[in-house]
């Protein structure tokens, strides 16, 4: 199982690097699917099959599909990729990358310093997760319900393809300005 973990870790990291370096959105999304699948494998090796399945269904399935839909609807393909190519230059990514590298170094030092034990793939039964979810976390579950509700309503409201002007004052202002011109 250890090998499974190391192999999938390497795959996840490499895939993620590819995600953030691609110019074309669709390519990036495909690598993102790979990354998610690799993380799902890590979950399996940690003895968490339930979340591994969820990772595949929800992340690799639903969320990625959502992204792809939007990319399709906006019709940003090779044109956006060309633009991205222009935008990404050494001076734009060098600074943030160095900063983030410092952060990573700090995190790693802190982790290695802390106590470390061996994790086996001793899986936690799904029954126990369910009990825990609907017993001590019941309020959190209900709050998540609210959150999803708000997400749906918000997305539906914001995404509505509506009139050009958000408020009639803005329209009147623009009309006045156009008259002046």
């Amino acid at each position: 199982m250890n090998y499974l973990f190391y192999i999938s870790s390497v795959v996840a990291i490499v895939a993620t690097i590819m995600v953030i370096t691609r110019y074309h959105p669709v390519h990036a999304l495909l690598y993102l699917v790979v990354s998610f699948l690799a993380v799902s494998m890590i979950f399996l090796s940690l003895g968490a099959p339930f979340v591994a399945i969820l990772e595949i269904i929800l992340y690799a399935g639903a969320i990625i599909v959502l992204f792809i839909f939007v990319v399709m609807m906006l019709n940003i393909g090779s044109e956006a990729a060309a633009q991205e190519k222009q935008w990404i230059k050494t001076q734009t990514w060098a600074g943030p990358t160095i900063l983030t590298a410092i952060l990573l170094a700090e995190l790693l030092v802190l982790m290695i310093r802390g106590d470390s034990t061996t994790i086996t793939d001793q899986s936690v039964p799904i029954k126990q997760i369910s009990f825990s979810l609907y017993k001590e976390y019941i309020i959190a579950v209900e709050l998540v319900g609210f959150l999803l509700m708000a997400g749906i309503v918000g997305a539906a409201h914001i995404g509505r393809h509506k009139k050009r002007y958000l408020h009639r004052f803005l329209r009147e202002k623009e009309e006045r300005e156009s008259v002046k011109l």
Binding site: F5, Y6, A12, T16, V19, I20, P25, A28, L32, S35, V39, F43, L46, G47, A48, F50, V51, L54, Y59, I63, L66, F67, V71, L74, I76, Q83, E84, W87, I88, T92, W93, P96, T97, T100, A101, L103, L104, L107, L108, M111, G114, S116, T118, I119, Q122, V124, Q128, I129, F131, S132, L133, Y137, V144, A150, G151, G154, A155, I158, G159, H161
Partner: protein, 109 residues
Amino acid sequence: MASYSVLAVAAILFTLGLIGVLTRRNVIFILISVEVMLNAAGLAFVAAGARWGQPDGQVMFLFILAMAASEVSVGLALVMQVYHQHKTLDVTRLNVLKDDIDIQEIKVQ
């Protein structure tokens, strides 16, 4: 495997996502990077749960998942709206919140 090696993978994934957020100018790429970061955070939770043999880590991952789902749906709706309004996805041009007030104007006599 040692628990810190799992956490190290999570940290690496997280920082990679962060680099993505910081370097990309396209809103869609930023959102993708945010997903990577959230996923890394979930990985850390699950690792911690496995470390103690408790279900709480996985429960937290479920919550992160739900949060990521709603975040993505709202975020993508915003992306579409922004694209319609401004005809661009370049975040450097979406800086309407910039502090434009001239400091000299409010100077006290």
